[in-house]
Symmetry: C2
Subunit: 342 residues, 2 copies
Amino acid sequence: MPEPPFLAACRREPTDRTPVWFMRQAGRYMPEYRAARAQQGILEMCHKPKLVAQITLQPVERLGVDAAIVFADILLPFEPLGVGLSYASGGPKIWRPIRTPADVDKLEHVDPARHLAYCLEGVREAKAALAARFPAVPLIGFAGAPFTLASYAIEGGTSRTFETTKQFMYTHAGAWHGFMERLAELVGSFLALQAAAGADALQLFDSWAGCLSCADYQEYVLPHSRRAIELASAAGVPVIHFGTDTSTLLELMAEAGGDVIGVDWRIPLDVAWARIGGRAVQGNLDPAVLFAPPEVLERRVKEVLRRAGGRAGHIFNLGHGIQPGTPVENVKRVVDLVHGRA
Amino acid sequence: MPEPPFLAACRREPTDRTPVWFMRQAGRYMPEYRAARAQQGILEMCHKPKLVAQITLQPVERLGVDAAIVFADILLPFEPLGVGLSYASGGPKIWRPIRTPADVDKLEHVDPARHLAYCLEGVREAKAALAARFPAVPLIGFAGAPFTLASYAIEGGTSRTFETTKQFMYTHAGAWHGFMERLAELVGSFLALQAAAGADALQLFDSWAGCLSCADYQEYVLPHSRRAIELASAAGVPVIHFGTDTSTLLELMAEAGGDVIGVDWRIPLDVAWARIGGRAVQGNLDPAVLFAPPEVLERRVKEVLRRAGGRAGHIFNLGHGIQPGTPVENVKRVVDLVHGRA
């Protein structure tokens, strides 16, 4: 079997077509997902490996994307860490947020092979289901990056300013680095285990690193992202290093590692690519464009493709996840446009 | 009297010291502000010109900053526009948000000289109070930029993704441009009137433009920001063009206009300055650094000064407003560090 275009692009090898997948491609915008979601909470869903496999395949069936991403959540390690995790309509809630160095010391030791075994079982089930029905479609495993996880743990949920996180980082530098080291070991080894369970590529989500100045990223974050990626890369599959709002951090993120660097919509793709040099790039359509009328959608998709210029090593994606309420037909239309069928 | 350093820096003339002021320098972090605020809502405060003058002077008295900014709110024009504005703990609420082209047509005509006369009276009172007590301290007037105002009007409040705004902009391009033209005329003439009432400089706040791709900014926003700045500049005082998260929009914002371009903390000051060329720059400390211990605070302040390199045309400021809960002594310490007294 020839190498799937998504994996070839990760390695900057030429492909017949630009591969495309979407962050949060299995999600609330999709009726078949909502049907499963209506009966249970998101954490319960993540704990059911057979359901995980089923949901992972939904966008492959419906959209014809070039990669599947295992259905899971970046905050799942918070359950065994003991900080208390639940989901409500406003997003995740961490019941016992990390506010002092003593709170870091009290965290439970997490062995991902044991405490996140159900996730690895989900990877195995999803891989088996893909192998049976879509053998040419690779599976992506993922984890949250140390900074993004630390910010959720410290803020207690989502944040606009990440002020509490930054205050902790500035004030308790020793405890901060200790916490980040633990998270780097955890997510790095968790990613490697996902590859061993069948994931063909891995993505590290540093969704909120873009709130930081370059100096802060370099001092407080980069060494820990590097460590996580080093552990993940040891598994021998491509690693995608993703963040949003990281236009000014791209060189530093590339320095931390990753075969593919995620690029959001705030920076033109060619400008970003020129800055990070010899890596593949993933992006960079604004998810809001999926709400646009056909002519605007087509214009913006073609603009991304034009800036990629057909060079080897471009994976088409959004700059962030698909929003609830997005029309499914528009997502499908993007796949067709990228595949040259629309 | 020699020209105040803030105004000299706006014109890129050399100054004895780097001028410094802070966005939201009169605000909840300050006890004397909280005392006034405890007795009334923010809109009520804005409607009292003598109170406006008193609050405008508080940070000049307490901190020794190089400029005062009139106490007001960028959303005040929403009252005469008729969209319904109130403030609760979660921020502004717009009761009748703009969701269709018909909603734009229904907006009231606003004549800022008449409908915002109380703001202009506040500018006059603040200018008179400064002239009496701090004659060397210039007064800054301000307004929200068309995009930022439109986004509040359409979202109905603050937003993380600005999805509803973008959807309106893509779907109803004609109504969007019509709305933006009205806002540009309104805020441009309002700014010019503030200069006539005594403001020595003007700032256009495009706080949320950073959510846009370069292509969207250019197509849907730039012409309207240019028009607003053109109208404001006709008053003959310097104009500061400010946004957050605009690292990739800086050239386009400079193209739209402004004598001074605001730069947030996501991009090193010298990198930003090199990109916008012959303009003054304002920034670029992360407001979260004001929560840091003294050694981190000093290091980050000196880093901004080092990157400015003593060149004419740098106004020290934060990349966004001072957060509630910020220790006043840290704000004072930044003033002293910038003035070379710490």
